[in-house]
């Protein structure tokens, strides 16, 4: 048909050049389609022109002239349906001169009352991408020329549409890649499994534009709901899909992702209910499902469903698979973290429990210790009463106050006296040790002049030495040496060590006491020329009830507690005690006191009034 006098071939060529120039200058598909329709109508004067594009296995009308937007949006034609569907299926154009005589004809709009139709497939590289549909109110409106020009336009359009579609899918691809990157970054940095699942289903629902998403977790050969979108997971808490059952179960078992375009035709499909009480099933049509695999082990599956047929594409499958891979490692990390967290929690719980047990044990031990110390204290008092009588009466007899004694009687009396004194010492030492062990030993430290103390102590020391015929030498600085100490306890320390030195020395040997400054401390060395202490026993010598294992020890009458008490007393003064010895040559006990102004690390306190009272009394 010609509407001008121009040579139709020239005119068609011009139109074709114009269209080609225009549609190839843009990659926006809507612009291309609109221009095509407008130009065909304007230049060729048909009544109706529309372009339908293939989406999955249906044709969707994207743009058209002569039809309202509402009419256009309704047009969704299956392959083989109507004239257009048939053209799409066959891939060959058709001209219908009288539509009333063609059963296949479907009227898009009843206002126009078109009588003839021409449909031309849009094909590029043997792939159908859509159909050009043209109608006219006249009968026999289309001839061979019309077919030629529209076919030419369709060919031109095919390339442009394909390019535009490629661009569009590239855009989508880029967008999805970005989405994948963002989601991946988010979930791999999250350590909370629940948060990861939430983020994944949201991303899937948003990106694939679908109705329902579920994240299924595999546990002991069954899939359980992990997280959902589009339906409430609380109705499915007891949902338990065995491996191999349903589409999701199959995917989880085989590890092969699947796209199901029409679930109503798939016998494996298990429909979901919308809610607990509703018997209505969701009108789901298509489904996509990918397995979650981490290091060769299936952890679950992501499942997305749509109310549209053929909603999911292979692009979607690629996207979902990539997301699934990321989800696998993210979940595994989070699980490890949660396991470690739980382990720590458990550990802390165990430690707390053990601490409580230990505390209770300590309380019990303290109670037992107190009972022991009370017992020792009581026994010590009780022992002193008979000892008082024994020592008292024996000393009267030994002094011959009640009658003359033979030499042998005198000797024996003295043995009884000595042993009684030893027993008395043992009672005192036991009480001291018991107090030390129960932490009740309190030592009040004050300023003591060590030089003054030694001058007083000398008198007692010389007596002790003379009794055993020992040469005693005490060397000390003449100026006052002020130390932190308790005079009674210092006396106990000196007496213990000196009596040991004397006890373990043979007659006419030397015992030397050296006192000298040593920085912040004063050091006292008590040196004897006795038998010495075997090397293997040096470490144990300060332990209670330890006595050097030698032939001599029983004859010297120790209690086995003296050195243990001495060490505690020295340490309570903030000092240190040590021993060096050479067998057969003698031993040296060295101990230190802190000088005044040096804060001792161990300070035991008693009230000042008590101290004053004592001083007054002495």
């Amino acid at each position: 048909m010609n509407i001008s006098n121009e040579d139709p071939t020239d005119k068609n060529l011009k139109i074709l050049i114009k269209i080609a120039r225009c549609i190839n200058s843009t990659l926006d598909i809507d612009t291309i389609l609109k221009y095509l329709v407008d130009t065909v109508i304007k230049e060729l004067g048909y009544d109706v022109c529309s372009i339908l594009l293939k989406e999955g296995d249906i044709l969707v009308n994207k743009t058209g002239y002569g039809l309202t937007q509402q009419e256009l949006s309704k047009i969704r034609i299956k392959f083989g349906e109507g004239v257009t569907g048939m053209v799409a299926q066959m891939g060959k154009p058709e001209i219908i001169n009288d539509v009333s005589k063609d059963e296949r004809y479907v009227e898009f709009s009843n206002k126009l009352r078109c009588q003839s139709e021409m449909a031309v497939p849009i094909i590029v590289d043997q792939e159908l991408i859509g159909v050009f549909n043209i109608e006219d109110r006249r009968k026999n409106a289309f001839g061979i020329k019309d077919l030629e020009i529209i076919t030419a336009v369709a060919n031109e359009a095919a390339v442009a549409i394909r390019n535009a579609k490629t661009k569009e899918s590239l855009d989508i691809f880029n967008k999805r890649l970005l989405r994948l990157y963002e989601t991946g970054k988010h979930i791999t940095s999250s350590l909370n499994v629940k948060a990861i699942l939430q983020r994944i289903v949201d991303t899937v629902a948003d990106t694939l534009n679908c109705h329902m998403v579920s994240f299924m977790m595999l546990k002991h050969d069954h899939l359980y709901i992990g997280e959902t979108y589009g339906f409430d997971a609380k109705y499915y808490t007891d949902l338990k899909i065995p491996l191999g059952k349903g589409i999701t179960g199959t995917v989880a078992q085989t590890g092969i992702p699947e796209v199901v375009g029409d679930v109503t035709k798939d016998t494996r499909y298990i429909p979901y209910k919308r809610g607990k009480d509703s018997s209505a099933y969701t009108p789901i049509k298509s489904e996509i499902c990918v397995p979650i695999v981490y290091k060769g082990r299936t952890m679950g599956a992501i499942n997305a469903e749509s109310e549209h047929l053929n909603h999911f594409t292979h692009e979607d499958l690629k996207f979902l698979s990539a997301l699934g891979d990321q989800a696998g490692s993210a979940i595994e990390n989070a699980r490890y973290y949660e396991r470690i967290k739980n382990f720590n929690k458990e550990l802390k719980h165990k430690i707390d429990e053990a601490t409580i047990k230990l505390k209770n044990t300590n309380v019990e031990l303290e109670r037992l210790n107190r009972i022991k110390s009370d017992f020792v204290s009581t026994v010590s008092h009780e022992l002193r009463t008979p000892m008082t009588s024994i020592v008292g009466y024996i000393s009267i007899m030994a002094d011959e106050e009640v009658g003359k004694l033979t030499d042998q009687q005198k000797e024996f009396m003295h043995i009884v006296m000595d042993e009684s004194q030893r027993l008395t010492r043992l009672i005192s030492d036991l009480l001291d040790i018991s107090k030390i062990e129960s932490g009740k030993m309190k030592i009040d430290l004050e300023s003591v002049d060590l030089t003054e103390f030694v001058n007083k102590f000398k008198v007692k020391a010389i007596d002790m030495a003379e009794e055993s015929k020992i040469h005693l030498h005490i060397n000390h600085p003449s100026e006052p040496i002020m130390i932190h100490g308790n005079a009674d306890r210092i006396d106990q320390i000196f007496t213990n060590l000196l009596s040991n030195a004397v006890k373990f020395s043979e007659s006419y040997k030397n015992v030397i006491v050296d006192i000298q400054h040593k920085g912040d401390s004063v050091q006292v060395d008590v040196k004897d020329e006795g038998q010495g202490i075997p090397k293997d026993q040096l470490d144990m010598i300060f332990e209670r009830f330890h006595q050097v294992d030698s032939n001599m020890n029983r004859s010297v009458g120790g209690t086995g507690l003296g050195l243990a008490i001495t060490r505690h007393l020295v340490e309570a003064h903030g000092g240190k005690i040590s021993v060096s010895s050479e067998e057969g040559k003698g031993s040296t006990f060295s101990f230190t006191f802190l000088k005044n102004g040096i804060k001792p690390s161990v300070v035991a306190q008693e009230s000042k009034t008590q101290e004053n009272l004592l001083q007054k009394a002495v």
């Binding site: 204290s377 010590s380 008092h381 009780e382 002193r384 009463t385 000892m387 008082t388 009588s389 024994i390 020592v391 008292g392 009466y393 000393s395 009267i396 106050e401 009684s420 008395t424 009672i427 005192s428 009480l431 107090k435 309190k442 009674d488 008590q610 009272l613 004592l614 007054k616 009394a617």
Partner: protein, 145 residues
């Protein structure tokens, strides 16, 4: 009047004189002690040193005797049933009639805190059992001066 040498042993002659100055007035010492053997021991020691000895075997009896007899010094045991030595000492110190009598505690409680408690309750001195008889006599003489 003699206060110093009553009951002191003359070491040269090894004989006990009641009083080297011829003093006839013996000093009176009250022993409060629940253990008969120890009471007897202390009595013997004091008597041989020229003192007149009074014995009480429980705390209450000791306080009554102190008020009645007004001894020159009291040797007081600490661990006694019913009323212990600390309480006896406090009672004596609270009575006008007995408050100036010196008290020496003779105790089997050898801990530092017991010593402090004894001195706080009013004793002049605190001797732990078993005691040295010479030390006891020395201290008695010191407080009788």
């Amino acid at each position: 009047m003699c206060h110093k040498t009553c009951g002191v042993i003359d070491k040269q002659t090894d004989t006990r004189v009641l009083c080297s100055w011829g003093c006839e007035m013996k000093k009176k010492i009250l022993i409060v002690e629940d253990e008969p053997n120890i009471s007897k021991l202390v009595s013997y020691i004091l008597e041989t040193h020229g003192f007149e000895v009074l014995q009480a075997f429980i705390g209450v009896e000791g306080i009554e005797m102190a008020k009645r007899e007004k001894p020159d010094l009291i040797v007081l045991d600490v661990m006694m049933p019913k009323m212990d030595g600390f309480e006896v000492a406090q009672n004596l110190k609270n009575e006008q009639i007995t408050k100036d009598i010196p008290i020496i505690m003779l105790s089997s409680a050898a801990q530092f805190k017991d010593k402090v408690k004894g001195l706080e309750s009013g004793a002049m001195d605190y001797i732990t059992k078993p005691f040295d008889k010479d030390e006891l006599i020395e201290k008695i003489n010191e407080y009788l001066k």
